[in-house]
Amino acid sequence: MKQHRTPRQNNEYFRHLHETTYDSLFYYLYMKSGDRQLSEDIIQESFILLWERIDGFDSLAGVKSFLYQTVRNKLMNRLRDERIRRRILESRAAEPPTPPPNDDSDVIEAEVVSQLYAAISGLPTQTERVVSLTLSGMTVEQVADELGVSVNTVKTLKKAAYRALRTKLSHLKSAAPLLYLLFW
């Protein structure tokens, strides 16, 4: 089901999308290229493409998938051009094509790490410590022991952290009706 938004809603939605996905896309590109400028350029171009078809998406997951695909293709093209340029420079025989990197795991890493990071930052101190310790591999019992609180408290704080993350993102998931009320 397509969403129908007014231009102004679209603009707001679009800005939120950019803010929410920027770090994960930059991390994904920078880890592959090691090039800040290149990564920033690709993100800008990709968002301009996204703007043209923003009405065609009906879920945040769909938008993210589109963005990852777009930045990946753009990066591959740049790297290919770079290889060709280098090859002409050296007038060497064709190098074997670079196998496509394992995007599956790179996308997953960028997605998970960026969201975990977002989930932790902005949490109350106690909750943040619980989540950090949990993510470093401690069990609920070990965390409770470390912080001197009960196991139930740890569980409650973890749930609160996850809920907070959901809330941060929910307005993007089913954006149209909510944004309509807020911004029109």
Partner: protein
């Protein structure tokens, strides 16, 4: 379903499992289980996600870029489009805005490490301006540059076909009657890489900064060569004539097999790693000190100790250099720098405050990348800051 659709979806499940595993639905638990079991690398990735090192890396990387500057550039680009929905105008305006904003940003920001690097021409591993990949040196000191157009070098006893990346030795039929055996040395300078097929069909691939001394034809009971540096051997099987590699303090003896020998004078060790078959490794001049390796095992001799130690290794890491890659798992900075100095034909030094330290790194580098890119990644992985001055790396 596109792969990235699946990735985004499974990422959601992973986040849920990390933060609030109890709220996973049965379907999500099953989905996660399938993904974890699909490969061991998925399991490793899962364990790494959210650990302090990965989070710190993420924090560092995203601190390099400001999403607000990016948004401003995009918004500038989109503004005219909101009045007239015309695709190309929008894109053109956006591109111009992006360029202007990008240029302004670059102009106004203080010089960063990246820009300081950029003042140097990129340094690539493959020799530039037609520099030879290798030299063939005769016993009388004659030095022939190899590489470039295919050709044939004739000597009294052998004919050698030279290609861009390989030389192949063929003994002449008349040579078998001769007593005299002529030795040659294949020299691969820093930055190069070259292969040789010896007269018996044994293939050897030489890494940067390596020398191999070999006879034009093998005679007598053993096939012997002398190595300094690193090489991969695929030895042609011959029951009657063992193949022997002399590499400094270590001697490796085989009948027919595939193995790697690393014996750089500036490393304080010599090692042999076996991929296939079986080899016997001994301390030179003390053959009683020896060990027989099984595939996947590495024998190492610390120089001066006359003691061999063996251990199981990750073959992919040891052999990666042949594909132009350096894979390092817990490798010390000093060792990584030694490899880079050979690949890129550069030297390195530590500035006043820097200590070589025992900090180890895990990651990869490829020969096809320029030196700056590789060093920048090392910095990003938590390493020190590097500066390239001419052909020297300065570690800060």
């Amino acid at each position: 379903m596109e792969m990235s659709d699946y990735s985004v979806k499974i990422a959601e499940v992973i986040i849920k499992s990390k933060l609030d595993a109890e709220s996973l639905t049965t379907a999500e638990t099953a989905e996660l289980g399938r993904w974890l079991e699909a490969s061991s690398s998925n399991r490793e990735l899962y364990d790494r996600l959210g650990d302090p090192a990965t989070m710190a890396q993420f924090e560092h990387v995203v601190s390099l870029s400001d999403h607000r500057a990016s948004w401003d550039a995009i918004e500038h680009g989109l503004r005219p489009q909101r009045q007239r929905r015309r695709l190309y105008r929008t894109v053109a305006a956006a591109v111009v805005a992006a360029v202007v904003v990008g240029a302004t940003y670059l102009y106004m920001s203080p010089p960063t490490q990246t820009e300081r690097f950029a003042a140097n021409a990129p340094i690539y591993a493959i020799p530039q301006d037609g520099a030879a990949q290798a030299y063939l040196v005769s016993g009388d000191g004659e030095r022939i540059a190899l590489g470039g157009e295919p050709r044939t070098i004739e000597s009294r006893y052998a004919s050698m076909s030279v290609g861009a990346e390989n030389i192949s030795v063929e003994a002449l039929a008349t040579a078998a009657q001769e007593e005299h055996i002529e030795f040659k040395t294949l020299v691969v300078p820093r930055g190069g890489m070259f292969g040789i097929t010896l007269e018996d069909g044994t293939q050897v691939k030489l890494n940067s900064g390596t020398e191999l001394r070999f006879p034009e034809r093998f005679a007598g009971g053993a096939r012997e060569v002398w190595l300094s540096g690193e090489a991969w051997f695929e030895v042609a099987h011959n029951d009657r004539a063992p193949f022997i590699v002399h590499s400094g303090e270590m001697t490796t003896r085989v009948l027919g097999t595939k193995f790697n020998v690393s014996a750089y004078p500036d490393d304080q060790f010599v090692s042999t790693t076996l991929a296939e078959g079986s080899v016997e490794v001994a301390v030179s001049g003390a053959t009683a000190v020896n060990t027989v390796l099984r595939p996947g095992m590495q024998a190492t001799l610390l120089c001066g100790t006359q003691t061999l130690s063996t251990r199981a290794v990750d073959l992919a890491m040891v052999l990666a250099w042949q594909n132009g890659e350096l894979l390092f798992g817990n490798m010390e900075l000093e060792r990584i720098l030694r490899v880079l100095s050979r690949w890129y034909d550069v030297d390195y030094e530590y500035s006043g405050g820097a200590a070589s330290g025992s900090h180890t790194f895990a990651g990869r580098a490829a020969r096809s990348e320029d030196l700056e890119t590789v060093l920048r990644r090392l910095t990003m992985l938590g390493g020190p800051r590097f500066e390239i001055v001419g052909r020297r790396i300065i570690v800060h």
